[in-house]
Symmetry: C2
Subunit: 335 residues, 2 copies
């Protein structure tokens, strides 16, 4: 089946191609009678306007690139859902890409999205791309950072940011374990190149200092994966003395921590207490695990991100003052 | 910052725009000296070739659209990872879209991907779009169905399919519960518009018939979400007589089933046995749940899908015979 062209549609409707274009883009005046003729011709020839050709003319693709480090983490999908609920009704489509926590892959994705002329980028960075991000932003492409800051405060200073108060949250979370009398902590941390990893770890140390402890916990540096939660517990259980409580600094690693403690035959929290930055839905399968967790609000963060995107794409403020939207979270407990 | 054009690059390098294009697309002969001059001009002017303009000429966008019903389900992300590991090294980029189990949204996404001129589409359909899919396929756009068939066998007959033997798997899974002596089953089913829902339910009925039972289980029709697993258990626990075992026909619903049984204070499997189509990672948090599950191989399915995509995009076979690749899965048990 060969594709109909705009010229064939114009010939069929006996109008100019410019008129066909006006009808399809709903721009400029066209009489109802002409409009009907064009739409009939479009239907008859099964004409598919090319979004690529259209975007070249309109200078808008109605695509927003969303780069997250882990597309299968429900946290980032919660954020994405919030974004979509705001920008979707305005005609924008999200294009998800996963950097898999790799700065190199993220760099390639940033380049690709620029080449695809997306209208804006949402970035939860895997780190290592300050310069590239700054360059894209300086070229006029709106970029909203979500969840994670750039590595240098200077590079991120001009960019919108929707994130959590990670240090404060991790400090309060750790405080709960310390109030329960734990003094030997194991910390399952994310990579130091990622701001959430750095800030949450700082929060743990702060809590220890506030409780008069020497801030030298056992540390396992993971990459936010379930697998690394498992490996962290294996490492901690081989140490002497063992920690009596584990602070795990993201939800995926926390699931791995829980799975491996249970697999080792230890009881939570009697043999090993656990605190998690981020809720672990499956934690309720355990009987009275006394599991502390910071509840997060990814959907609300997504809503805020979506609003910022629309504002930036529509250039509602020029020059734009960057917005820093920081969410504060509470400590909760399961069982 | 205004963007450099290919004309400015050509002027700077003192060559024609065609030569610049040849260098950038690595097509046709250009002497090393000229090539160097062009690349220097590109660097000096910070020229960014437009992928949109390029794709208009090359008739290839190197983008593959992947429409899944639930982007946060690790099963579909496992498939996507497999696809990416095959097509990524060949220069293709995946664009993920989530239909959220909505046929309407899926229809819009199919339209959008066609307009974006993706080179191929991978579809795990939410149902209801047989005609649209057929139309896109007939227009020459390669479409590979994954996990789920179209509603009518006729519409799907000409399309590649990578799926599981759902009926056989569900039959064997249910058989395990029946061999353990259960006769009153509750079935948490997916939507009937989705082939995996229909086929797995058929498998349950087949197993009941093979064991001489009247194939009339209690049924809850969910939409493959964790929430629906929770609601199904609530419904079953209100029925009289209650089922003694639950067959849950996807991994997300199974997590909800486990959570709600535990929340009700019942013991698994003594008070209520559970069998799941698809592994529930968190199931290991339970003590000896005797949880039967069908193990799935989404990554391998993704690898196969990726290979088919490359073959179709490169038109290695014309006319193409559709490939039906059906994966068979084993029943396993936790605890």
């Amino acid at each position: 089946m060969s594709k109909a062209t705009i010229k064939e549609v114009a010939a069929e409707a006996e109008v100019s191609t410019a008129t066909v274009s006006r009808v399809l883009n709903e721009s400029g005046y066209v009489s109802d009678e002409i409009k009907e003729r064009v739409l009939e011709a479009v239907a008859k020839l099964n004409y598919q306007p090319s979004a690529i050709a259209r975007s070249l003319k309109q200078d808008k693709t109605y695509m927003i690139g969303v780069i997250v480090p882990d597309i299968s983490n429900s946290y980032f999908m919660g954020i994405s859902r919030g974004i979509e609920d705001v920008v979707g009704p305005e005609g924008f489509q999200l294009m998800f890409c996963s950097s898999d926590e790799s700065p190199d892959k993220e760099n390639r994705l940033l380049q690709l999205l620029q080449e695809k002329r997306v209208d804006a980028i949402v970035l939860a960075t895997a780190g290592g791309n300050d310069e590239k991000v700054k360059q894209l932003s300086d070229s006029g492409l709106p970029i909203v950072l979500v969840d994670r800051k750039l590595e240098s405060d200077e590079a991120g200073a001009g960019l919108d940011l929707v994130a959590e108060d990670n240090e404060e949250g991790a400090c309060r979370l750790t405080g709960k374990l310390l109030e329960d009398g734990h003094v030997r902590l194991g910390v399952v941390n994310g990579p130091a190149r990622v701001s959430t990893g750095r800030e949450r770890y700082e929060g743990v140390l702060k809590a220890m200092r506030e409780h008069g402890l020497d801030p030298k916990p056992l540390v396992y540096n993971g990459d936010f994966s379930t697998e690394d939660g498992v490996l962290a517990v294996r490492k901690f259980l081989k140490s002497d003395p063992k920690p009596t409580a584990i602070v795990s600094l993201n939800n995926r690693m926390s699931l791995g921590v829980l799975l491996e403690i249970v697999r080792s035959g230890l009881k939570i929290p009697d043999d090993m207490a656990v605190a998690s930055f981020g809720e672990v839905e499956a934690g309720s399968l355990l009987k009275n695990p006394g599991l502390y967790y910071i509840d997060q609000h990814p959907y609300d963060m997504g809503i805020k991100t979506g609003e910022l995107l629309l504002k930036r794409i529509r250039k509602e403020e020029t020059p734009a003052e960057p917005v820093f939207e920081i969410f504060r979270n509470e400590v909760n407990r399961i069982g």
